[in-house]
Symmetry: C2
Subunit: 199 residues, 2 copies
DNA sequence: TTGTCAAGAACGATCGTTCTGTTTAGGGTC
DNA sequence: GACCCTAAACAGAACGATCGTTCTTGACAA
């Protein structure tokens, strides 16, 4: 006989997750203590451990949540109809990324934590599996864009769609990394620069 | 009256640093404990604190060492004579990165720790300053390549060299990030994909 | 009344750092 | 050149702080 409904429980879990995301955006995964998350969420230690087995499970849930959020939003844009040319689609996606960074309701926490998750994947195989799964979703979205471009003749008929999808995703990752570190980088100039690089 | 020479002291410092880099490549900055570094280096706690004031200083030294190593190697390649076309230079640089990843004498620790440092820059302003400084060195190297390309006509006369340098650096960062996460990405195909993306 | 859920004190483990004792290279004295 | 003396350098035990987690207690829905 559960005292709270499944909806309430899920809502509390989400509340806890978003509090944890704010902490991680400030302090990174391993400098964020359970005490930080507890304070930020306004819950108690006992409550937190009722929703997550421990810190590892919380970290994995944060990584999955943030990367899922990011890939979901970007995949929709990349695969939208009518299909855009690849670099046009890239600019739209980077614009959305820029929007998430600056005017997001959470002040750019999602992309910030995503970078933390990529680094964490380098030392935690379970996080690495999550990251790979989310990257594959992004690749799939780009593949549909690229296939459309190939069919419309905007791309060579023998173009390697799989590799091109990886190139586009890595371009997003590189843009985000450098955008977070420097201030002088914006999507329009970035994509224009990519177009210029033809030799 | 120092008991050991400046050379010995510097050598010991380097020994300590490289031991710490191995630890960080395995465990990340904040999961690496001083006890790990002490064990890996074969020194004692007292000795370590004779070379670094504390963990924060060690972390900053690691970040600076690794990023300096990386930018130094890549900047030399990017700025070599005779000047290569931008994308040709990029392929050479990515090849070198691939080499550092696979056959490096340290088994790819340098690029791996570099990714950790980029993430750490998101929460430690002092590390962020180090990262920005090293990125600027990379940008400078690319600018010389791009100016040459512009002079030789391979690039438009009004090309924005500064932005293009940022694009190329971010491409390197994105390649490295995704290369560490996936296995299906190699420099030749990557650059070929970039060339294909013209629309 | 019963079992679920939350609150918060409490606990053992582990962290970064310091402190104490020991070793050892170099300089002064004869 | 043999000797001590001094202080730098190191080793490793020890310390306080802080971590993740658990346990005890109480409140509340069924």
């Amino acid at each position: 006989m559960p005292r709270i409904s499944a909806e309430t429980r899920e809502a509390r879990r989400q509340h806890l997750l978003s509090a944890a995301v704010r902490c991680v955006a400030r302090e990174g995964f391993h400098q964020t203590t359970m005490a930080h998350v507890i304070a930020e969420s306004g819950m108690s230690a006992g409550a937190v451990y009722g929703y997550f087995k421990g810190k590892h499970e919380l970290i994995r849930a944060i990584a999955d949540s943030v990367l899922g959020d990011l890939t979901g939003r970007l995949a929709v844009l990349a695969a939208r109809e009518p299909a855009l040319a690849p670099l046009d689609a890239l600019e739209v996606v980077l614009d959305r990324l820029e929007e998430l960074l600056t005017a997001g309701d959470d002040g750019g926490n999602v992309p910030r934590v995503a970078v933390q998750a990529w680094a964490e994947a380098g030392r935690d195989p379970q996080v690495a599996a999550i990251v790979r799964e989310r990257l594959e979703q992004l690749h799939a979205a780009w593949r549909t864009v690229l296939v459309h471009a190939r069919e419309s003749g905007a791309l060579a008929a023998d173009a390697d769609v799989e590799t091109l999808a990886q190139v586009l995703v890595s371009t997003m990752m590189g843009f985000l990394q450098q955008r977070l570190l420097l201030d002088g980088l914006r999507p329009p100039g970035y994509v224009a620069g990519l177009r210029e690089l033809r030799c």
